[in-house]
Symmetry: C2
Amino acid sequence: MWDIPLDRKSGISLQHQLYQTLKDSILSGKMAAGELLPSTRDLAAELGVSRNTVCAAYDMLWTEGFIITRQGAPSKVAEGLTLDRAVETESAEDSVPTETNIRWDFKTGQPDLSAFPWKQWNEGIRYAADSLTGEQFTYTGTKGYEPLCREIALWLKRARNLDVDKRDIYITSGSTQALFLMVQLLRREGHAFALEDPSHPGIRTVIKDQGYPLHWMPVTQQGAEIAGLRGHALSAVYVTPSHQFPLGSIMPADRRATLIRLAKEKDFYIIEDDYDSEFRYTGSPISPIRSMSASRVIYVGTFSKTLFPALRIGFVVLPKALQKQWRHSRTYLDVQNPMLEQAAMAWFLQTRKMDKHIRRMKHVYSEKRDALLAALTHVFGDTVIPQGDASGLHIALQFPGYIFGDDFMEQCKKTGIRMQPVSKYSSNGADYQDTLLLGYGHLSIAQIRDGIKALKQDIRLATIDFI
Amino acid sequence: MWDIPLDRKSGISLQHQLYQTLKDSILSGKMAAGELLPSTRDLAAELGVSRNTVCAAYDMLWTEGFIITRQGAPSKVAEGLTLDRAVETESAEDSVPTETNIRWDFKTGQPDLSAFPWKQWNEGIRYAADSLTGEQFTYTGTKGYEPLCREIALWLKRARNLDVDKRDIYITSGSTQALFLMVQLLRREGHAFALEDPSHPGIRTVIKDQGYPLHWMPVTQQGAEIAGLRGHALSAVYVTPSHQFPLGSIMPADRRATLIRLAKEKDFYIIEDDYDSEFRYTGSPISPIRSMSASRVIYVGTFSKTLFPALRIGFVVLPKALQKQWRHSRTYLDVQNPMLEQAAMAWFLQTRKMDKHIRRMKHVYSEKRDALLAALTHVFGDTVIPQGDASGLHIALQFPGYIFGDDFMEQCKKTGIRMQPVSKYSSNGADYQDTLLLGYGHLSIAQIRDGIKALKQDIRLATIDFI
């Protein structure tokens, strides 16, 4: 008797159910090598199904080599198929970790998506979907959609006063990918990557994961300290010269010129991350270092902060000497960006909706920044020194005399505040323990005010341990 | 006299033009360190612009550190800013190479985009744009959009008879990225990656670029020959078991079982690329090897061939032991996929438009395949042996006794045919010189017929050199 359960309501065809059950029996060893299968006629009769159903199931088993069938002889189980299914036990459920409840989330790099002009953006998506032809959805090249490169060149001129040839612009899926590819491209045995200290931990992780040595540049009020670079063999120097992340200092022109001269002399590249430079609230805009050298500076831009993170469009302005290798590396990394968003982005720039959006967001963020500064003064008086508040979506807050350690972090977690000391961004995890980093771009003014009040409470409770 | 050309019609503000010209003069050394600038009043008068304009330009130069300004004293050029601009000469224009005119393009991996249901797809895009909220466009996680993972699990059950937990599905931007990440994840000192010989050259490039050693498995009528694996230290074995690329053979169940046992014993992973398995024209569908082991098989799927390449959505089914590391690596590679297409894809699967599309394309491709086989018989009689024609968008054509070398390739280029011998896909570039690879999925039936006629001509002209 062949005890094969068939479920006529499952939506899965009977032949597939039969095939699956027989296959499972063979793999588990319930049916041994050489064992004869019933004839299609007998099995069909026993299961109350048509003979065609059984024939189809046997045919699948035969095509995949589970059974051997010869003319005029019964089918039998093939050799060597038993798998020890017990060994298939997998490691304990390794689920995606979920976050605990956070009431005031001061994490950095989060734009305010509630103020984004979704209607206009969706108009761009519709325009792109309607105007692109089928041929434009095949493999269209690693460099990126040509009209988008053109519009980005025009945008850089308008927004950053930067003259760039559209042929030197390469589309990426964001700054993380840009950095990843740069590490691949610039890898040289015995050479290091120089990074600002402090800097974004994600950047060092990308570089360290690739097995690349790091060299740290301390950050001063003049941006990264580059005097120490001379004695080192370097592939690249990664800088945020117009608004240092996270402290906000600006690298002055003489230091920029020195860095470029050093790059030429010692044959390294300068990677300029023009992080959130679009949002500058006071003073004139700062020109990118790229405007001083096209051959030594790799300019990295992204729309993750100006538009939205799940867009996944950024770009690099590449020195010509790196372009061929870039195309090769991107091809064998992930081929290219999706087409639809590239075309929508080109439209958004071309119709100047981008300019209008940035103007509006500058206003929105500037009001939040003012509210944050006012709340800080109200709550902490002049005991706190804000840094890097002239631009961007975050500020650094120095509390002279305080030390924000693990106890403070633990307390914040209990209160529901997400916030990190700048020490988490420093190379040794110890410097800048008196400075907190607050991302505020995505928070409402009410959230900002309440969050600062809650912070006061945590700091008061925490200081006893620290001072 | 300050000879500063200002263009009042350029659309660039006068203050920016003035700033730019002065900055260029400083960087080029035309204005030396310590040199005094004219007073804002004098320069404004000379250029015929308002004094505010000059003040704004000076302010930008001062903020960026190009000039030094003290109360009551004239501004002067800062130290150390001269850059030798002559050294900025870049290497010769390194433009993206363009293709010569190809009339019959038999390249592989190209779906027929003229038959794609763009209207329905755009309906999905609109649905996604309208139904997603702003919050869903922030960073939403490396794993991928949850409803898409769920729909892919259901699709794998419907289309491939494969039972997969949606929690084990991770969205990628295509199979290239999947392979790239796998090489990163499975890298072990002294261990090799085993590849089928012949196989897709792109796959070996991804692996070799990462500095990973290769081990070749010859391909027979039974798929990859795995007997030689035992003596080697391996990280992974990359196979196309259901439709070997490019020869089309199927790996039978006993060899699959042996491979899984070997993977467990010797602690390596099996990467199963289920390349174009959706388009099978004759016989029953072949189950993926993943159905025989969840802990040792990494199943790689993509929608580049079933939908369109510029979609950039694929997926992997990952053993639980690899998932945490995968999330880390993807985060520091490019963070995540864009959101919009993920939601549209989920809708396309959920509404069963995918199923309908695949059914329709199977019919379209099957007609093209029949036309190709008929044209081959008509033109070449029985001198040619088609291989791997039971599924996919390409076939391999063996011409016993012929050798397709560089002369033949050159001739094809002249005629306007793009086509490669399978030798280009073999490890030594020499085996399978008598076999041509023809991708036909994207060609019309008329193009296929004309292309085969043109091929006859090339082969006739070329044989003299070869036989």
